[in-house]
Every structure is written in C-alpha cells, then in structure tokens.
C-alpha cells in the first residue's frame, strides 16, 4: 500500500513538474522569438502578442486575432478583457503590448497619456433605449437630459405611456457611461438608478421593466425587445454617425506604449485593413473608422475631415 502511495505521489509530482516546465519553457521561447523578431523585419511574423482592456472590444479584437493567427501560423495573440482601466494601466506599465480602451487615455486619471500612442480602430455609436411599452421613438436632447437627471419622472410628460421612468445606468467609471454623459447629456450627472455593467443585462432589464430607459451600443438593437430613440429628430444610424449628425459615438482605441513595433504594428495594421474594417467590424456591430467623415479629439471637439 505504502509503496503505491509513494509511486502515486512521485507520479503526481513528476506530472506537475513537466507542466510547470512546459509553461515556463513556452514563455521563455516566446520572449526569444519576440526579440529575434526585431532583427528580421521582413521575415515571416512570429512570436506572441498580449492584448488587454475594454471588455466591449474584446469580442472584436479576439475575432480579428483569430483571423490574424490563421494567416500567420507562427503568431500567438492573446486577447484578455479586464476593462478599459486595466488595459490602459497594463499597457502603460508595459505588461501588455496593446491596451484597448473605449475612452481616450487623456480622460483617465493616472495614465501617462503622452507616452501612449493612440490607434483608433473602430467607432461605436450608442443611443438611449426604452422599453417598447413606453411608446415613444424620439426625444429632444433637452428632454433626454431632464429624463436622466430626474426632472421628468413620468413618460406621459413626453407624450408616452403613463409609466414611471426607471433609469438603468452604467457604473461610474464605465467608458459607455462617460461617452453618454458627455455627448447625450452634455455633461450632466445622471440621477440614481439601477446600475449594471454588462450591455446584455442592461438590455434585459430595459426589456423587462415598464418605463425603463438606458443606453446601448447600436449592435444591441437587433430585435424589438428595446426601442432605440432618435435624438432631436436624428435617427441613430450608421450613416448619421459617419456624417457627424448623430452625436453619441466613441472611438475604440488600441494603445501602445511608444510607437507600435513589429508584431504589434502588424496586428494594428491588420485591424485597419479594409478586410477587417468592412466585414468583421460590421459583423460585430461596429462602424469602420476609415469611413468617418468627422473626427474628434480627447476634449470632444468635432471637426470635419
């Protein structure tokens, strides 16, 4: 009996060691490849790339990474989602090569924005969404601000159903919330309401709760479960965002520390290629950044291109 146990223990230990060695070994070879990569720029791409940040961007970047890896079999791209703050922090401290964020680095406290290089890879449009039973399809911006700051508390004041307004917010630090507050509410602080992080949960709550209003990216308006609102008569469409008529949109940023090099540069170029911008982005509900007729800086000033 005793000897069996010993053999078992030895085997377990051996297995563990092999595992540890394999993991450790893998990491170190990756680094070497990354280094050797710098010398031979024109050679076939190889090495590993770690991307972290915005959970909203994760599906898009992960899908692009998959296609990128299919084209470059020696490349390993890992896309983690931890939130925009995590992405920016990690790229600033150099623990990942690319940090995704749905806000400008300048807008986040404690990030050395001057050291980071911004690559705008996509545009996301968003608008206020209401429960279908509310019965309104458009809203004036001034009224929207009153709704979100709690000055209007019943939809009948806006010609809708006699239902109490229920706000569905995002967490304080969320990028979606920051964009919505800035461009839809003109910087007003929204009143208290249910707060959820995930867009799917927000959609579910708006759909199930009478009188609920929240905000979602265009890609979530795939069915009739929530009603997207036109603002000041401008429909929330791709064209209106691209022409600069619809105000609530934001860039999806990929930041690198210093200019992108080697693999990171190759991957970012790939993200900007027509292939990705015109097909994959659309599939994922984003707007191609290459087709924007306006551009915005970190302060939110918009100008025509």
């Amino acid at each position: 009996m005793k000897s069996y146990k010993k053999i078992g223990l030895a085997l377990t230990l051996a297995a563990l060691m092999v595992l540890v060695a394999a993991c450790g070994g893998g990491a170190s070879t990756d680094k070497n490849e990354g280094l050797s990569n710098k010398d031979s720029k024109n050679a076939e791409l190889s090495g590993s790339l770690t991307v972290s940040g915005s959970s909203a961007m994760q599906p898009l970047v992960a899908a692009a990474a998959e296609e990128f890896m299919a084209e470059n079999p020696n490349v390993d791209v890992q896309v983690n989602a931890g939130g925009s703050g995590t992405g920016l922090s990690q790229v600033a401290e150099g623990s990942v090569q690319i940090g995704n964020s749905d806000v400008f680095a300048e807008e986040k406290e404690g990030i050395p924005a001057d050291q980071l290089v911004d690559h705008k890879v996509a545009v996301v449009g968003m608008t206020a969404a209401v429960n279908p039973k509310v019965g309104i399809k458009e809203i004036k911006k001034a009224d929207l601000i009153k709704v979100f700051t709690g000055k209007i508390t019943n939809w009948k004041e806006l010609g809708g159903a006699d239902q109490k307004i229920v706000l569905v917010n995002r967490p304080d630090s969320s990028g979606t919330r920051a964009v919505f507050n800035k461009f839809a509410l003109d910087g007003a602080t929204p009143a208290e309401g249910i707060t959820e992080d995930s867009s799917n949960t927000v959609k579910k709550i708006i759909n199930e709760t009478d009188g609920a209003v929240g905000y979602l990216a265009f890609s979530y308006f795939t069915d009739d479960s929530v009603t997207p609102l036109a603002i000041d008569g401008v429909e929330p469409t791709e064209e209106n965002v691209q022409s600069g008529h619809f105000p609530i949109w934001a860039y999806q940023h990929s930041y690198t520390k210093g200019e992108a090099t080697d693999l990171a540069k190759a991957f970012l170029d790939y993200l900007m290629s027509d292939d990705i911008q015109n097909t994959l982005l659309k599939e994922q509900g984003y707007l191609p950044v290459t087709k924007m007729k306006v551009e915005r800086d970190a302060e939110g000033n918009q100008k025509d291109l």
Partner: protein
C-alpha cells in the same frame, strides 16, 4: 551524530536479525524530519500569505486617505458617492457599507432559523431518513456556483418580486433571499455538527425528568449548543458579507441609501466588482475601491473575533 552512530552500531549487533530487517530507525527519523519540514512549510506559506495580503490591502486601502486626501470621516459617513465628477468629487461610501450590513443581517435572520431548524430535524426528529435526504440537498446547495444563484435570481426572483410584491424587483429583498439560500448550507452544516456533538446523557437526563421531546430540544439542547449555533450564524454572515457576484445581479446597484426592503441598493463588494476593471491603477477611484476592500477585510477580522469570543464561551 558520530556518537549516535556508534551507539547504533552496538545496538545493531545486539539485535537479532529479525528485528534488523525492519526499517532502520535512521530512515524513520529522516521521514520524521521531512514531514516536519513539509508541514511547517505549509504553515509558513499560509501565514505569510495572510499577513502579506493584510499588509498589501492595508497600504493600498489607506492610500486614498493619505495620498489622495479623501476624508475618512466623509468616506464612512457621507451618503454621496460621485467619484467621477471632476469639479467636485464626492466619496461617501456609507450607502454601500449600510447595504452590505443590511443584506448580511437580513439574510442571517432568514437563514438562521431555517438552518437551525433543519439541523434539529436532522439530529433530533428524523436522524435516519431525514439526514439521508437533507444532507445531500445541503451539499448540493454548497456546490452551486454563486453566479448561477445570481442568474436564477435575475431571471426568476427579480421578475417575481416586481410583479407580486412591488418595486423594480431589483431590491434589498432580492439580495437577501439569494444570500439566505447561499449561506443556508454553512449555517445548517455547523448547526448539525453542534447538535449531534451534544452528549447523549443530556437528552436522557431530560427525558428521565419527564420532559417531552420538544421540551428537551427547546430547554436543554438548544441552550447547550447555543455558542456553536451562534458561531454557525456568524460564519454564514461572514460569507454573506463577502459575496459579490450573485448580489450584484439582483440588488440593482443604486448608490442611494435604501428606505425600504423593495428599494434597490448596493454593497461594498458589488461596487468593487462593477468598477474595478474600468478604473486605472493608482487613480483615486481605484484607491477608494481598495479602501472598500480594506473595510471588507476589517469586517471579516471582526467576524473572526466574534467567532473566537463565542467559542471561548463554549469551553466554559
């Protein structure tokens, strides 16, 4: 060592061959030392992990007060939480602290009678078949991940409360119900151990005096097991206090102080999980989240002290 070896040789010569075939004492001694080192190592790792987490959390959690100049008084007494307002940021975490305590106490109020009742059922009323059914049920409850509890709460409980009780559905009540179910196994298991470890002669003595079964349970067994039963409740509360995911999905995460059970609310843990990913390391927002983590740690220390106090009372 050489002295020992010398003695050893002499002894070996004196011993009959049969005994010498047994494992030599030297190997046994080696095993003893190896085992000792192994166990000490485990203990050292555990102790240093705890100490370093405490130090880390302490230094991180205090930074918002020391480095960012957030007032501690404001942090624990103000009800206004608005860290992203650049002109006038406010850092009052009282609504979250209150929310944490409210759901913890309320869920303990629900889970304690249920858990202790179940324990009495298993040990006193139906020790054979009752235990056979209830034990696996409780083990199953332990095994369900908290995210599943949250999802069930969000899909079934929240709409149910909205339609049949009132309010939005996202409420202290929903959080309380979900947490009660989650801490029920903890309370029941420890309460069952407490009841079944009571000496038999307590029951026999009580019966001999002519007490009925219910009288025995109420007047003899429960008072005798009380300190451990309280420990069971406190351990359940400690778990409820730290639960984040399931609560976040059903409580609504509103930054205002709740005025009724049907109001949406927020807890320290839900605010941390909601904001952690969005904030950047070293920013005030991030540091205030660490401060909330520190409060959670201090509370868990308080719970442990309470448990220690209760167990010391049991010994007397």
């Amino acid at each position: 060592m050489t002295y020992f070896r010398g003695v050893w040789c002499i002894m070996e010569k004196l011993e009959p061959a049969k005994d010498r075939l047994l494992k030599s004492k030297k190997n046994w001694l080696d095993g003893e030392i190896r085992g000792r080192i192994l166990v000490i190592l485990c203990a050292v790792i555990m102790i240093s992990a705890t100490i370093s987490i405490t130090i880390f959390l302490g230094s991180k959690g205090l930074q918002s007060f020391i480095k960012n100049g957030v007032s501690l008084i404001e942090f624990i007494t103000s009800t206004h939480w608005n860290p992203t307002n650049l002109a006038k940021p406010e850092y009052g975490a009282l609504p979250f602290i209150f929310g944490s305590f409210a759901v913890t106490l309320l869920s303990a109020l629900v889970a304690a009678p249920l858990g202790i009742g179940g324990a009495i059922f298993m040990t006193e009323i139906a020790p054979s078949w009752g235990r056979k059914i209830l034990q696996p049920v409780i083990e199953l409850l332990v095994g369900i991940p908290s995210v599943v509890y949250g999802f069930i709460g969000l899909t079934i409980l929240v709409p149910f409360i909205r339609e049949h009780v009132g309010g939005l559905g996202f409420s202290l009540l929903s959080g309380t119900i979900v947490l009660s179910i989650m801490i029920l196994p903890t309370v029941t298991t420890i309460a069952t151990d407490a009841m079944s470890s009571l000496p038999k002669n307590l029951r026999e003595g009580s019966y001999a005096l002519g007490a009925t079964r219910w009288q025995t349970i109420r007047k003899v067994l429960i008072p005798a097991a009380l300190p451990t039963l309280l420990t069971a409740i406190v351990l359940g509360m400690a778990r409820a206090f730290g639960e984040a995911l399931a609560v976040q999905m059903v409580i609504g995460n509103v930054r205002d102080l709740p005025t009724s059970l049907l109001d949406a609310s927020a807890t320290l843990t839900t605010i941390i999980t909601l904001n952690m990913g969005h904030t950047t390391y070293g920013s005030v927002e991030n540091n205030t989240l660490w401060s909330m983590g520190l409060i959670l740690l201090i509370m868990s220390f308080a719970f442990i002290l309470l448990i220690r106090y209760l167990s010391s009372r049991r010994k007397m």
